[in-house]
């Protein structure tokens, strides 16, 4: 058992005033087989009404409306996570099929297909072993480079450049697994240090989901805090919103995760 303290801070700055701001936030880790979450603070400002729900992947969401005129919008979440590396993350068998098929962001195009074909035949391996093998190969082929891709960059676009960030690693990895029809899902979460959120993947191994981190080419340990999962980054969108006004907007995100002693 490992205990981690986490805090998530987001601030949206609007160039021009905003009103009738409808939001849906997905930045709240929830307890599962591998992690137990307790919250110390969940603050959203400004807000006229807010309410909670779980989406169809079981992710916790808070949605609501800020009617009053505002030029910034902030979210602050703090708490602790107790993680258990040995616990099995049980899968619901009737839901795993959903994670076998392409989405717009994870559809393999020519460059990913070509790379997939270049890999040694993997017939003798289990699905999970194949996934890990492909993760190793991807890691050798791809370079971590911030600033060249964006949140709407597809796996194929990123892979044809051979450069990108954690979201791209995860998407390409999912595209490869899905070519093999291995059920796999996208995970948004936090890891120790100070910075932005992280992204990794879970691969179905028999009856359990096994988390792996393609960006670091490793199996996830007990320092990973999962926020949400879905078929791709879009299912895990941390902030969905519509509003009137606003002009240009900028977003600041600060994530801090520390081991608790």
């Amino acid at each position: 058992m490992t205990t981690l303290r986490f805090s998530y801070h987001m601030r949206l700055n609007f160039e021009l005033p905003v009103r009738e701001h409808h939001f849906k936030l997905r930045c709240f880790p929830s307890s599962d087989d591998r992690q137990r979450i307790s919250y110390e603070r969940v603050e959203i400002y400004p807000v006229h009404f807010r309410t909670e729900e779980r989406d169809s992947f079981g992710n916790m969401c808070i949605y609501g409306t800020a009617r009053q005129i505002h030029d910034h919008f902030t979210v602050d979440v703090e708490g602790t996570a107790e993680t258990d590396i040995n616990a099995k993350l049980r899968a619901e068998p009737h839901k795993t099929g959903l994670f076998k098929y392409d989405t717009a962001l994870t559809k393999a195009g020519e460059s990913i297909r070509e790379f997939h074909l270049s890999l040694d035949p993997m017939n003798w391996m289990t699905e999970y072993e194949r996934a890990v093998y492909m993760m190793n190969e991807l890691y050798e082929e791809f370079t971590y480079t911030p600033g060249v891709t964006g949140i709407m960059t597809t796996a194929e676009e990123a892979f044809s450049m051979r450069h990108g960030v954690c979201q791209d690693y995860a998407h390409i990895f999912l595209a490869l697994c899905r070519l093999e029809r291995i059920p796999c899902r996208y995970v948004a979460g936090m890891i120790p240090g100070e910075g932005a959120t992280h992204a990794w993947a879970e691969v179905l191994d028999g009856e359990a989901w096994r988390p792996v981190d393609p960006t670091h080419n490793r199996v996830c340990d007990d320092t990973y805090i999962k926020i949400s999962c879905g078929r791709d980054a879009q299912d895990c969108a941390i902030n969905q919103g519509v509003f009137y006004g606003g002009g240009k907007q900028t977003q600041e995100v600060r994530v801090i995760v520390k081991r608790k002693r």
Partner: protein, 441 residues
Amino acid sequence: MALTAEELCSYSDNVNEQLARYGVKFGIYKNGEFHEQLFPFDVIPRVISHDEFAYLERGLKQRVSALNEFLRDIYSRRRIIADGVVAEEFVYSGSGYLVPCDGVSPPGGIYSHISGIDLVQGRDGSWYVLEDNLRIPSGASYPLIARELCRRTIPDAFTGRALEDNSNYAELLRRTMDHVNTGGHPVILTPGRFNAAYFEHSYLAEQTGARLVTCDDLVVENDRLYFTDYSGRKEQVGAVYRRISDEYLDPVNFCSESLIGVPHIFDIYRKGNVAIINAPGNGAADDKGIYYFVPKMIRYYLHEEPILHNAPTYLPYYEQDMSYVLANFDRLVLKDVAEAGGYGVVFGSKLSHEQKEEFIRMMKAEPRRFIAQEVIDFQDIDIYEDGVRVPRKADLRAFVLMSDEAAVWKCGLTRFSRNPDSFIVNSSQGGGFKDTWVMSE
């Protein structure tokens, strides 16, 4: 004395003029521009005998019940996939499958409140289902108002004929809305007057007594949906017959560019705090690929033999079907499952050699995208054109409304092609319509 057909036809211009005056129009988008067109009405009704319609009615209720079970299943336990009856890929890769609907149980367990099932009658008299429309099937208002105007203008045409009254559509629709209402007003949500079916939205609102609203009239607050009236007073809404497709329904949850949706309406629907008619995610069952599986669904869920036939259909996705399609290409009609409104339909015989090669290449690359069907030579129906009666292809859209039980409206929209060489009857491609008389004895 009942009128002769010739006498009846002499009223054609008169009735069409009245329909125009009532604004019975159909809007289409062509090259990005909105054009409003009159929807040409042919005065010669299609007549369906009492017994024949009773047969259709049984088959339609059966079909829609199975489709509803299917929707309930694929958004919850997915037994039909686990049991290998429907190929998983067709469910999850279909454009209509809406993942956020997973685990939602809509009020009353009803997904398909209003279904429009398109049928044709073959030359041998047997009926075939060509398409199930479970998203936002439109068209009921056209025969509804046409009947009313004809009764007023040509009362003699109805004298001595025992036909089913069709004016109960509004009642059926209102019952369907009330049955799932979670508490509050019923409303009809329209995108506005630039929608192809705006006439229908306003007419059905007037006929059912539901309020006609646009997104600006509705607001979600504290997990409830409210209608805001002219004075700013809020009244709760319990049932929304939305005439907006899923992707535009809620800009927070779906397409954020949507200017016609209601923010958070989907969130409170998930919580069971409002009924949405038809249920979001219904498109998963009316996909052209899923059509192939409907007879299997009927056997699987209802343990009955299908009463209505599908047109013989092949899925190139299955190897065996692919070989059949390649061997019989010139006899078949091929459809792109992602297209609607009569688009993406190709007759094998009409392709040039190069086009055929190109099509086969596409089909082999993406077999999941296409279905192939035997061409059904359907019966012609007479229409009145420039003073003479001429035969044209026609189909029938039958409407099934679900409340405590499935009910079939004893009428329907008969659409015909105005082009003598065309099988495509869609109004978006310039077809016309007829009233459908169901005889009561």
